[in-house]
């Protein structure tokens, strides 16, 4: 990311709209702010977070590219505006507020689903946006339920396979994990057709990146084994 998205001209433009703060954990005794990563519960490096001017954590970007940073910033601004209007008593903003809350991870899937179910007479475009957001939220919720439980991982993989069959496919950041579990499931159940769908996702996403060349090659080999014939 440092030599990638953080080094692009687009990132330099993006930093005009925010205050970029760099925290480096050094393990140097007495280094100023060394404990800050613990304060924010940083569990791995690198981690990105949006904070308000009081240092309150707002959310993490949905991805590691500048477009994701900008999208999250836009969502935060939209959410702040909607929240202000709702708090001022403006009516009819529930669906848009829910959409913003889902996008920022401020509401978990079960609650979001329950709120959506109560919404009547939604405009088709708003309803479609909410359905996409809910699907992504559902996938994130299922992934969060796995923890370190391998059996649970298999169970969720089977659920994801069923979602693919229903053409319910996430578009958000969780898509990588979604398709990873599909790979496992398809390999275990020797479902070459399903495996190919996941393979296509990874080739589309990472096929141009040299560092993933080996991983993609191994996936293709597994697919060939499952299918029993070579692919191009």
């Amino acid at each position: 990311m440092e030599s990638g998205s953080l080094s692009t001209p687009d990132f330099a433009k993006f930093t005009d709209k925010v205050v970029p703060y760099l925290h480096v954990t050094t393990h140097v005794e007495g280094h100023p702010g060394e404990e800050l990563s613990k304060t924010y519960g940083i569990r791995g490096f690198p981690t990105l977070k949006f904070l308000d001017a009081e240092g309150q954590e707002l959310t993490e970007p949905n991805g590691r590219d500048v477009a994701s940073f900008q999208a999250t910033q836009t969502n935060l601004a939209a959410y702040a505006d909607l929240k202000r209007r709702v708090d001022a008593g403006e009516k009819g903003l529930g669906p848009k507020l829910l959409l913003a809350e889902i996008g920022l991870g401020k509401v978990k899937f079960p609650e979001a689903q329950a709120r959506f179910a109560k919404m009547k007479k939604l405009k088709p475009a708003v309803k479609a946006d909410l359905e996409v957001a809910l699907l992504n939220s559902e996938v994130t919720h299922l992934l969060d339920s796995i923890g370190r439980d391998e059996e649970k991982s298999k169970e969720v993989g089977a659920k994801f396979a069923a979602m693919v069959a229903e053409k319910r496919i996430p578009t958000g950041d969780s898509a990588i994990m979604f398709w990873s579990l599909i790979l496992n499931h398809a390999e275990t159940t020797t479902d070459a057709k399903l495996y190919k769908k996941a393979l296509d996702f990874f080739v589309g996403k990472f096929g141009d990146e040299k560092r993933y060349e080996g991983a993609i090659k191994r996936l293709k080999e597994t697919y060939e084994k499952l299918q029993g014939e070579k692919i191009g």
Binding site: M1, E2, S3, L6, S7, F11, A12, F14, T15, V18, V19, P20, Y21, L22, H23, V24, T25, T26, H27, V28, E29, H31, P32, G33, L36, S37, Y40, I42, R43, G44, F45, P46, T47, L48, K49, F50, L51, D52, A53, G55, R64, F69, Q73, L76, I176, M177, S180, L181, L183, N184, E187, F202, F206, R211, Y212, A215, R218, L219, E221, T222
Partner: protein
């Protein structure tokens, strides 16, 4: 190949926070930090290294802080 290998590759950017290496020399750690913050991407992003300064600027300019947490003690 088991997909866990790919998984570990695609999420390789997230490296678990580990304890400080007991044998590491403080001067070496300081040198690693200085090397880190002199990298091109740091200058490119105009990153502020002081947390309080970043918050004060955010307040003054009515902006959000975009915080990037990384490490210098190991690659």
């Amino acid at each position: 190949m088991k997909t866990s290998t790919l998984l570990s590759t695609v999420v390789a950017g997230l490296v678990a926070v580990s304890a400080a290496p007991a044998q590491s020399d403080q001067a070496d750690l300081q040198a690693k930090y200085e090397k880190k913050i002199s990298e091109d991407w740091v200058g490119h992003g105009g990153w502020i290294l002081d947390f309080d300064e970043a918050l004060a600027k955010a307040k003054k300019e009515n902006k959000l802080v975009f915080a990037y947490f990384t490490r210098s003690y190991s690659p």
